[in-house]
């Protein structure tokens, strides 16, 4: 039957399409119609406004056709709901089978069916007058309220077959059983049913058997296919499972596989590249240094001042805590047109760490690229570096050898001790004359001793060079790169020891050994520098602690000049720290310390004068790049000149403390006439001067000479400073009082040089202070500032399960909503339909009543007619 229907349907479709085609061809307006239908009627279109256009999202519901979709929905309901509604409470259906009534369904011929269809159509046309002349075959055939087309979409032929055969009784049987069509079926009902059941069972078994067969066949096919696959790939399952015994090669291979791979590194750099890199690094560091030097808001020259790029969102509303400086600097040209000189890098620790990583090779390069070196020098240095390098390689090898040895040595974690500086008891053993003269017995690997005594034992009675080697090896063996935390502790311990060692070297140093102590320090210094570079923060802090301790010792009696070792530590600060910074955690306290000593401590002995000059020198070294000045240092130099002036008892020159304006202390450095002034050569200050207390004539001359040189250099260093003339004038006034005649020739030259600088500075023209010109305030360029990170935190983050659940709940809610809406629409539709039916039936009834009345009135009329006729007849 289904087949028949299908055919019918196909036929109908064909006819329809033919008709449509025909219409298209014949109708002259055919071409106009699709155009209008394509172009939507604007009154029928509803546009959903879109608030934000979101990239990457396709919007389905931007416009809709409410009329069309409503019509669609109504139509669908008509086909489904309305049909259902009309069939409600109706178990039977009247089917007119009068045509071909005596035939079985098998025997039905095409003609009979066609006749039935025509009859049905006629019946339909009778009912629906509107479609009587509709040539288009409007009604689409349906099955259970759905069009056949739709059904065909989802149709599965086979399963349908099974279904059909499965559930339904044989039509022949049914026909016979129900309608008693078969006349020869005279058996009683009981046996008939039994027959039917038996038949049914048999069929079921047959079907099951068939299915099994098919299943087993498919299985077989599958397995065959698998075998075939194995043949094709030449890899059977067995072969796959079977493992060949691994041989050495395999083992090696596996090991290599599981070994950590080498990290991808930059290619080996050539000498040139290294030099370039090094130069770049130095330039960057220098730039950073300059930035720090200018410090927090120091008046920056107009040239170097940068206008910071600001975005519109960076208005000064104070909402954003971070400053604009944190943003990347802009690229800018300077006045000379060089690119990138003002590209300031953010200060990064990484650079410093990098500098730690630099091995000796790079240091070599650092020297190589030193422009100022003459060729010979550089050659010489290369040689020496080669030596160094050889040495290094050796020790490096040794280190790697020893690593395995030292690994099993349990490394005791020592409680970190503060550098408690004390004078060594074993000072006398440290006499320079009694060196141990065995270079060979220096072990290549050393552990850092647990305590200072051990460390002292390691170094004492060694030659300075050997001490250097020992320290170098200690550093190599305990480099933080080798074993993170332990060695960091070790390094800081080593630094503590070294500081204490230096302290001991210089406490109670005498005239005999002071030079040797300085030589030792000279050798230790680079190593200590390396140490500080390894752990900058911690070791700088240690150094600061030492300075603090020294300062606390000093302020117990501020009149007393601090001992020599304090001065040495200040020099170390100058070696390790970036002294030109505007504010530096270590250097600034040192400045204050120096200032305090120079302005308060009494000057009475040779070593105090020399110590003061040493402090002035260090202070000058601190400030040579930043061109800052310390009034106390200049005052001290002034005092040295003052002390060199012989004064008559009544004459009082004014001088600021700590120098005294009267008494014997006011002419400490004054000398009388000397005979051998021609013999004396110009000399620098000596280390002896720092330990001796008695004055000698040559020291007095030296001190004045160096003071003059310092004055010259410091003042010329400060020449740019607008107030430098104020600093120069008091010195210049005092210069007139110096009795120059008695001094040797070199003092004269230095004096003249200093004087000329001072005069030049003091005659400098001054410009009155004018406030910096106010620039017209530019309007801000408004530009959106794009928030890089947008973290919406309205909803707390959930676990995966909960997330899923929330999603489902949301879906359910939406579906429920949709379902409720559908139901509402359905009821609405049904109501409407019901009311229409009501109205229709009312109309019919009225019509009928009318007709009845009409008929009745006709009857009445006729009756009346008859009556009248009767009366007439009576008359």
């Amino acid at each position: 039957m289904a087949k028949v229907r299908k055919n019918k349907k196909a036929l109908a479709d064909q006819v329809y399409s033919k008709k449509a085609n025909g219409a298209k061809q014949t109708n002259p307006f055919a071409s106009a119609k699709p155009a209008t239908s394509n172009r939507l009627n604007p009154f029928e279109v509803h546009v959903n406004k879109e608030k934000f256009q979101i990239l990457g999202r396709t919007c389905k519901h931007d416009k809709g056709l409410p009329g069309v979709s409503r019509a669609k929905a109504v139509k669908k309901r008509k086909e489904t709901l309305a049909v259902e509604y009309q069939n409600k409470h109706k178990t039977n259906k009247f089917r007119d089978r009068r045509i071909g009534r005596f035939q079985n369904s098998d025997q039905l011929s095409e003609d009979v069916i066609n006749a039935r269809f025509v009859a049905a159509r006629v019946e339909q046309l009778k009912q629906n007058k509107a479609s009587r002349f509709n040539l288009n075959d409007d009604d689409i055939l349906t099955h259970r309220g759905q069009t056949l087309e739709e059904i065909e979409h989802f149709r599965d032929e086979r399963s349908d077959d099974e279904d059909l055969e499965d559930d339904k009784l044989n039509a022949e049987f049914t026909g016979a059983a129900h309608f008693g069509g078969d006349s020869e079926l005279s058996k009683d009902r009981q046996s008939a049913i039994e027959d039917m059941i038996a038949e049914q069972k048999r069929r079921k078994i047959e079907i099951a058997k068939e299915k099994d067969e098919i299943y087993s066949l498919t299985e077989k096919l599958d397995s065959n296919y698998k075998e075939l696959l194995g043949l094709v790939d030449k890899l059977s399952k067995k072969e796959m499972l079977e493992k060949s015994k691994p041989d050495d090669y395999d083992k090696a291979l596996k090991e290599m596989i599981f070994e950590p791979r080498g990290v991808v590194s930059d290619k080996l750099l050539s000498e040139e590249d290294l030099a370039k890199q090094e130069r770049k690094r130095l330039e960057e560091l220098e730039k950073e240094r300059l930035k720090r030097m200018h410090g927090d808001g120091e008046i920056v020259d107009v040239n170097t001042k940068q206008t910071e790029h600001r975005s519109a969102d960076a208005l000064d509303d104070g909402y954003f805590g971070y400053s604009v400086e944190e943003e990347d600097e802009t690229l800018a040209y300077n006045l000379d047109g060089e690119l990138g000189t003002k590209l300031m890098e953010n200060v990064s620790k990484g650079l410093e760490e990098e500098s730690v990583e630099l091995d000796e090779n790079e240091e070599e390069n650092e020297e190589d690229k030193d422009d100022e070196n003459s060729e010979e020098e550089s050659e010489y240095e290369n040689d020496s570096n080669k030596d160094e390098n050889d040495d290094d390689n050796l020790s490096d090898l040794k280190v790697t050898d020893s690593e395995s040895e030292t690994e099993d040595l349990e490394k005791s974690v020592h409680s970190k001790k503060n550098v408690h500086i004390k004078t060594a008891e074993s000072k006398n053993d440290n006499m320079p004359n009694s060196y141990i003269n065995e270079n060979d017995d220096l072990p290549y690997t050393m552990d850092i001793p647990d305590n200072y005594e051990g460390f002292n034992k390691l170094l004492h009675k060694r030659k300075p060079e050997e001490q250097g080697i020992i320290i170098e090896r200690l550093i190599k063996c305990n480099h933080p790169k080798l074993d993170g935390i332990n060695n960091r502790d070790n390094i800081s311990k080593l630094f503590d020891f070294l500081l204490q060692y230096v302290n001991e070297l210089f406490t109670d140093a005498t005239q005999d050994d002071i030079q040797i102590q300085f030589k030792i320090l000279d050798i230790l210094n680079p190593h200590m520098y390396d140490l500080v570079q390894m752990i900058p923060d911690k070791l700088s802090n240690t150094l600061l602690d030492v300075i603090k301790e020294k300062y606390n010792n000093y302020i117990k009696n501020i009149k007393l000049f601090p001992p020599l070792e304090t001065l040495i530590f200040l020099k170390l600060v100058s070696n390790y720290c970036s002294t030109s910074d505007f504010r530096h955690a270590v250097v600034t306290p040192c400045y204050i310390f120096i200032q305090h000593v120079l302005s308060k401590a009494r000057i009475r002995t040779r070593q105090e004068v020399a110590g003061g000059l040493f402090l002035v020198t260090i202070c000058f070294e601190f400030s040579r790049l930043s061109k800052r000045f310390l009034p106390a240092a200049l005052n001290f130099l002034l005092g040295i000149v003052y002390l060199s002036i012989p004064k008559r008892p009544v004459e009082v020159l004014r001088i600021v403390p700590p120098f005294q304006s009267t008494g014997p202390m006011s002419k400490l450095l004054a000398i009388a006439e000397i005979e051998e002034k021609e013999i004396l050569n110009e000399e620098l200050l000596k280390s002896d001067d720092l330990v001796l207390t008695t004055f000698s004539i040559d020291f007095k001359i030296r001190a004045l000479n160096i003071a003059l040189k310092l004055i010259k250099d410091i003042i010329s260093n400060l020449e740019e400073n607008i107030g430098s003339n104020y600093l120069a004038i008091p010195i210049l006034e005092l210069f007139d009082r110096v009795h120059l005649d008695i001094y040797p020739e070199f003092v004269h030259t230095n004096f003249k040089a200093a004087k000329s600088v001072l005069e030049r500075v003091s005659k400098k023209k001054l410009t009155k202070i004018v406030p910096p010109e106010k620039k017209p305030k530019a309007l801000r360029l408004l530009e959106p500032r794009i928030e890089v990170i947008y973290d919406d935190k309205r909803r707390p983050r959930l676990t995966k399960d909960k997330e899923e659940r929330v999603k489902l709940v949301h879906k359910i809610r939406r579906e429920t909503k949709g379902a409720i809406r559908e139901i509402r629409r359905d009821t609405e539709f049904l109501q409407k339909m019901r009311i229409e039916q009501q109205i229709q039936s009312d109309m019919e009834r009225k019509e009928k009543v009318k007709r009845i009345y009409q008929e009745a009135s006709i009857q009445q009329g006729e009756l009346n007619e008859l009556d009248r006729i009767k009366k007439k007849k009576k008359f």
């Binding site: 300085f518 302020i555 020198t617 430098s724 001054l766």
Partner: protein
């Protein structure tokens, strides 16, 4: 007995012996107090005291024992001799005993007083405390007239005070101890009454005496509190009496103070500098409010003003008070103040006081601008050689002065005249001005004594600009104010006045900038790779 004790002392260790001695002394004292039969014990104690003094041993125990004994004796009134005038003394044993007891009392007292000059401050202090306790006991239970208990033992106090103003030894620690008694109205009252008799012109010429005397004045302040509280050391039963025998009014004390000070004023001809300074301090802090005619001080203060240094500073403060409260006029006071700003001032203790005073003197906005400008310039010059903490004070001070006197802005803003001119004129004027802005040297004359003639207004504050490159960042930051728009409120000077070098050091340490920037050039030796200054001037090895 005493020798026995002494010999015992040599044997065992001193601590045990001391406790043993004091125990022994205590038992002796108890025995003595328990019955008169043991009267000789008192002699023993006194002898031991003398022995101790001679041998320079600890006298604390002996002093304490004597104190206990005599306080008890005074309470019992065992020393009272009811002498009736015109009647021969009765020769009874009782009277004799009493007289003997009184002699011992005087003896003990003189011994205690003599130990005021003991070398050990603790012993001297103990002696003072004991003598004052005895004084109090004597005041409550007078020696002579039993019927008049409220008599203050003036003579006793006098002898104590005489010892305190020793001419040989500075008694400052003892006087500090004596200060504890200055809360008793009667002690202060009678001390002031006796004060004038204590000193003579000849004695005052002695420095030590003068210092002690002035210190004594210092520790006996007459304040309103004292009179309000009415705390008395000696007299307790006065409430029981119908008429208060003595009233400690302010008026007589004031009279005494005036008298004492008038005397002192006459002796000031050739006093030493420290005494002079001390005198001024006491005058300012203690005496001045009590004087009836402070105007009379003017001469003294003016003479002091010319002395220079801290003395003149203190005198200045005195004159300031006179000007403020007593309406004197003093010519050239600003010149005096001006002359006080010398480089040496930073090394005296009175620096903070000077800045404080100068701040007050210059707080008037009606002062002529050239005068204030001279101060500003002079301070600026000084800031170039001052220690950092003083530079900071000066810089804040200068800022305040510029804030007070708007006209001084020309010191930091030479162009002010141009603004508000038409454009064309301005352009011409700018050329002219820029020519005029260039000066060959600072017009300000530092050496000029008269601030109004120092041309300060034509100058500019180059000193402050150059201080912006001070090595110590705190100073450099403080100097930055002139390149920024001036604030509307003044800087608070009091917060920086008491700063010291080590404070600045601690401040820097406390800054705790986490960044330790390092030198980036590796030294090959003791010296820096480039431009090592130590290498240039020193040959260390």
């Amino acid at each position: 007995m005493a020798t026995a004790v002494g010999s015992a002392a040599t044997l065992a260790n001193p601590g045990a012996i001391r406790s043993q001695i004091s125990k022994e002394l205590r038992t002796k004292a108890n025995d003595f107090l328990n019955s008169r039969r043991n009267a000789n014990n008192l002699l023993d104690i006194i002898a031991h005291f003398q022995h101790c003094v001679k041998e320079k041993q600890s006298i604390t125990a002996a002093v304490l024992t004597l104190e206990v004994v005599f306080v008890e004796v005074l309470k019992r009134r065992e020393m009272c001799i009811a002498g009736v005038p015109l009647k021969p003394k009765d020769e009874s044993a009782e009277t004799k005993y009493r007289e003997w007891l009184r002699q011992r009392y005087e003896e003990a007292m003189s011994l205690i007083l003599s130990s005021f000059e003991s070398e050990k401050p603790a012993e001297a202090a103990q002696a003072l405390v004991s003598s004052m306790k005895l004084l109090a006991a004597e005041g409550k239970h007078p020696l002579d007239k039993c019927d008049e208990p409220c008599k203050f033992p003036k003579q006793r106090l006098r002898s104590i005070l005489q010892k305190l103003v020793s001419a040989t030894k500075s008694q400052s620690t003892l006087l500090q101890r004596f200060k504890e008694y200055s809360e008793y109205l009667d002690v202060v009252f009678y001390s002031w009454k006796l004060m004038q008799q204590l000193a003579t012109r000849a004695a005052f010429a002695n420095d030590v005496f003068a210092c002690n005397y002035l210190e004594l004045i210092n520790v006996l302040p007459v304040t309103k509190d004292l009179h309000d509280q009415q705390k008395l050391l000696c007299i307790t039963q006065s409430s029981g009496e119908s008429s208060q025998p003595e009233c400690f009014d302010y008026a007589p004390v004031k009279k005494c103070i005036n008298k004492v000070w008038m005397c002192l004023m006459q002796w000031t001809d050739d006093i030493q500098e420290p005494v002079h300074r001390q005198m001024l301090i006491i005058l300012l802090e203690r005496i001045l409010p009590h004087l009836e005619k402070p105007i009379l001080l003017t001469d003294f203060l003016m003479d002091s003003l010319d002395c220079g240094g801290p003395v003149s500073l203190l005198a200045l403060q005195g004159i300031f008070t006179l000007i403020q409260k007593h309406n004197i006029t003093y010519p050239n006071i600003y010149e005096k103040l001006y002359s006080m700003f010398e480089p040496e001032i930073f090394h005296t203790k009175f620096k903070a006081r000077l800045f404080y005073l100068a701040d007050i003197f210059l707080s008037s906005t009606h002062l002529p601008e050239n005068l204030v400008a001279a101060f500003v310039k002079r301070l600026a010059r000084l800031s170039l050689i001052a220690p950092p903490q003083d530079s900071i004070i000066i810089l804040h001070f200068i800022g305040n002065l510029i804030l007070r006197h708007a006209g001084l802005k020309r010191l930091i803003c030479a162009q002010a005249a141009i603004e508000g001119m038409p454009n064309l004129l301005k352009n011409f004027y700018c050329v002219y001005i820029s020519f005029k802005l260039l000066v060959s040297r600072d017009p300000f004359i530092m050496e000029e004594r008269d601030p109004t003639k120092s041309n300060a207004l034509d100058s500019s504050l180059w000193e402050v600009v150059s201080l912006q490159r001070h090595a110590i960042p705190a100073v450099a930051n403080a100097a930055r104010f002139i390149s920024q728009p001036l604030p509307t409120t003044e800087w608070d000077l009091s917060s920086v006045l008491e700063l010291k070098e080590d404070d600045i050091f601690d401040q820097e340490i406390a800054k705790k900038s986490k960044q330790y920037a390092l030198a980036f050039e590796r030294p090959q030796s003791l010296y820096l790779p480039h431009d090592d200054k130590v290498k240039q001037y020193w040959k260390l090895f």
